[in-house]
């Protein structure tokens, strides 16, 4: 069995190969997969999703260009780099304090979409004020959407 399974959301409007790219990046950020781990074989992704093999190859090429994975002929495709910026125990700590905060705002009366909107806007403000970098804001946005 492979470490991660891909899924497709036809309604998202995101091209299929990009959905695969995002899911690998997401799994890397959350520490589901780490350097040395093997990605599903192209054939297996094709078989489970009934998608065009060229789409899977294109996603893997994109991840290879980004320096995140490497294809070894005859062996498979392996994770090369990581996207998580902190160690797993630390990440677990952050997750705990986030959960406590969520319980508090939930009790305070905010619902899921309200919380997501609050976090998204606060993230934009925070990074916008700190370094004005638009790319950081963009990727932070994606994470919140993925988490919500």
């Amino acid at each position: 069995m492979s470490l991660i399974e891909f899924r497709l959301d036809p309604a998202s409007g995101v091209p299929t190969y990009l959905q695969l790219v995002h899911q690998v990046e997401h799994a890397l950020r959350l520490g589901y997969i780490k350097p040395g781990d093997q990605l599903p074989k192209v054939r297996d992704v094709v078989a489970s999703l009934a998608i065009n093999p060229n789409t899977v190859s294109k996603a893997y090429r994109e991840l290879e260009t980004k320096g995140l994975i490497v294809g070894r002929p005859g062996q498979g495709t392996f994770i090369l780099a990581t996207l998580s910026q902190v160690a797993l125990p630390e990440l677990a700590g952050f997750r705990r304090s986030l959960r406590n905060w969520l319980a508090k705002v939930d009790a305070g009366g905010l619902d899921e979409s309200g919380i997501a909107a609050l976090v998204a806007s606060e993230l934009r403000d925070f990074y916008g004020r700190r370094d004005g970098s638009s790319t950081r804001v963009g990727s932070a946005d994606e994470d919140v959407e993925g988490a919500a």
Partner: protein, 303 residues
């Protein structure tokens, strides 16, 4: 190599013109979807490709430079016609025997293993199998010949969603593992977006749109904005306009986002939306290479 190459190909049945001066080239290594309304000439084109029909005019070659119906073409092409043609009173095992004896190459081990994986009972008569199993049996018989080109006419039209998914998975795995080129006609637009990477759109016996799916999607945009300002796009090629009293959506052939004026939004287009727009505008076309592309102009689109 082109798996199919047609030049000014026409086919008449009596006074009915099924194909009119079709010119197209499908490169090897793709899963090609052939789409279009009923009567567009899809089945006629496929039957010409496999050599079951002869052209009235024009030229057609397959697998590089083979003549359709020639020995090399017959060996290299497998065809599953509409409505899964099987002898309903013959058992699955006997269908294997029959196909092996009628072909010069047949991979018995592959066929038997594949039917085992699918859980298709060999002794059962083909007509007693479920619709999904019948389709898989016909596909297995075709793939066991290890063709270079697999031609499927409306393969999933009669199947339920799971059988459709499993059938397409088998086809796509064959494309991934053996490099089989696939040409399939279909009405199920939504599923083509994930399975096909090359598309041919036919209407009224002609090729209207042809090309790699990614190129076509990247080469079109949906522009939404105030209806009163739609004239701002007269200089861009508008394929199809959907006009409300205050808001309008234009499908435009462009890859540029920098010409979007204030108050307008530019969105990427999905394959289904793109195909539907072209089907509604039989006079618009998007063709690659030496075939000249032409598009109707915006004023005409707003009729």
């Amino acid at each position: 190599m082109n798996v199919i190459e047609a030049s000014n190909l026409s086919k008449r049945y009596g006074s009915t013109q099924a194909l009119r001066e079709c010119t197209l080239a499908i490169p090897a290594g793709h899963v090609t979807a052939l789409v279009g309304p009923n009567g567009a000439g899809k089945s006629t084109l496929l039957n010409l490709v496999v050599g079951l029909l002869a052209p009235s005019e024009g030229s057609l070659s397959v697998l590089g430079s083979c003549r359709p119906g020639s020995l090399a073409a017959l060996d290299g092409i497998a065809f599953v016609a509409q409505d899964t043609p099987l002898y309903k009173n013959v058992s699955a095992a006997d269908m294997l025997h029959l196909t092996r004896n009628l072909n010069r190459h047949f991979d018995w081990t592959y066929a038997e293993a594949r039917l085992g994986e699918l859980g298709i009972p060999l002794k059962r008569k083909a007509g007693k199998l479920s619709g999904g199993q019948q389709a898989q049996l016909a596909l297995t018989l075709a793939l066991a010949r290890h063709p270079k080109l697999l031609v499927l006419d409306e393969p999933v039209a009669m199947l339920d969603p799971i059988a459709r998914h499993d059938f397409m998975a088998t086809v796509l795995v064959a494309a991934a593992e053996d490099g089989v080129s696939v040409v399939l006609s279909s009405h199920v637009l939504a599923e083509l977006e994930r399975s096909a990477d090359y598309i041919i759109l036919m209407s009224q016996g002609k090729v209207q749109v042809a090309g790699e799916v990614d190129d076509l999607l990247a080469g079109h945009r949906i522009l939404s904005g105030p209806a009163a300002d739609a004239a701002a796009y007269t200089e861009l090629p508008v394929v199809h306009a959907r006009q409300g009293e205050v808001q309008t959506h234009l499908l435009v052939r462009t890859s540029m986002d920098d010409r979007v004026p204030r108050g307008w939004e530019s969105h990427p287009v999905g394959l289904e939306e793109l195909v539907l727009a072209y089907l509604r505008e039989p006079d618009a076309s998007a063709l690659p290479g030496p075939l000249r592309s032409s598009v109707i102009d915006a004023s005409e689109a707003r009729r």
